[in-house]
Point group: C2
Chain length 215, copies 2
């Protein structure tokens, strides 16, 4: 299934950076940790970061049942979600051609509240395993009270676009020939540091492998 | 000047994570590289990543003059901008208390197109020096044609909120006492890799210090 089936999810600017296969969408979503959710509240857009998880072509978002933005997002109104990964800073010979290397997925649709203990529990498992693979097995699962206090939305990935920029700067030929400046890419890398155990853990508690071996 | 002067920029959820001094807002904006801009287009929210730069209490955003979302964003309608920095994954004893350590700034307002060569040039300098400090001096400055092809918006930082989570998980007392799982924080670090020179550069061109020494 290809992406961009509607006008608003068809990339007009920078078409050469548009990617149209669904596996690219999945790859960007799977590589990110946080998304930015936009919803209209009282006539104005509100954008907020939230955790998410993907199961097939469903994106799950969650938060507290008390969060107004999430309540609004689940009330049948259109929403937009973006996941952006920065890969590098593109230094060009001209200021104008400076850029960034990045991977970005944008999804448009209507988010639906996930209801029923079984469906909610499944969604929370997907969300948990995205944020912290291994935690669903390792940590205490949600109680009925905790399930009730968590709001989960499901957003279909049918309408989405992916934009990716890679590689060196695209300078004007005359700037390249004039040799006026250094040009290239400064890569951006995200990595995990040394785990910091909770101070309330008993002394000498080993860090489990799902945390220590995470890359 | 404190933050949160209006209801929509007053944080209701997780009040203990709200920060109300303006220097915290500036610090989050200065530490990020990309923002997420939300605007309403044809009645639906659209969220997109874009570059930005800050000068005092003005946030500059830019893009191509052909980008519809940017044109809409500068047409006098309300916009929302978020900058989010992820600092760690919070592993709790319960799935429910899993979280993230982060710093997030959200700005609400009306973006105004920056016009006039002098004002535009100043804004582009701010944007360039945010993305790639040193490039304004090192690289070729924008030509009149390039200035005309660049759309720059200015957004006042008057209405903004900052939310920060730091530290270990906040588990329930019974989960801590039961010692049911490992708990702690897996820090997330962003760093720059080795500069990758443009293949069109003459062999042996030295990497300038504003790139090689960037941290």
């Amino acid at each position: 299934m290809t992406l961009s089936p509607t006008p608003r999810s068809t990339i007009k600017r920078g078409k050469n950076r548009a990617v149209t296969d669904r596996s690219a969408l999945h790859a960007v979503l799977d590589a990110g940790l946080v998304c930015h959710l936009a919803v209209v509240v009282d006539g104005a857009p509100v954008v907020l970061p939230t955790g998410y998880g993907r199961d097939g072509d469903t994106l799950y978002l969650h938060g507290s049942t008390g969060a107004r933005t999430l309540r609004e997002a689940g009330s049948g109104v259109p929403v937009s979600v973006a996941v952006t990964l920065l890969d590098g800073i593109v230094y060009a010979r001209s200021v104008f051609d400076h850029s960034m290397n990045y991977r970005c997925a944008v999804v448009h649709g209507t988010a639906v509240p996930v209801t029923g203990d079984e469906a909610k529990s499944h969604a929370l498992r997907v969300l948990t395993e995205h944020l912290s693979p291994g935690s669903w097995e390792h940590a205490r699962r949600p109680s009925a009270r905790e399930l009730a206090a968590t709001s989960v939305l499901a957003l279909d990935l049918a309408e989405a676009s992916v934009k990716i920029r890679t590689g060196p700067p695209s300078d004007e030929d005359e700037d390249v020939e004039a040799g006026i400046a250094w040009a290239g890419v400064l890569p951006i890398r995200e990595s995990f540091g040394t785990p910091e155990p909770c101070p309330l853990l008993p002394e000498g508690t080993a860090v489990p492998e799902h945390v220590s071996a995470r890359r």
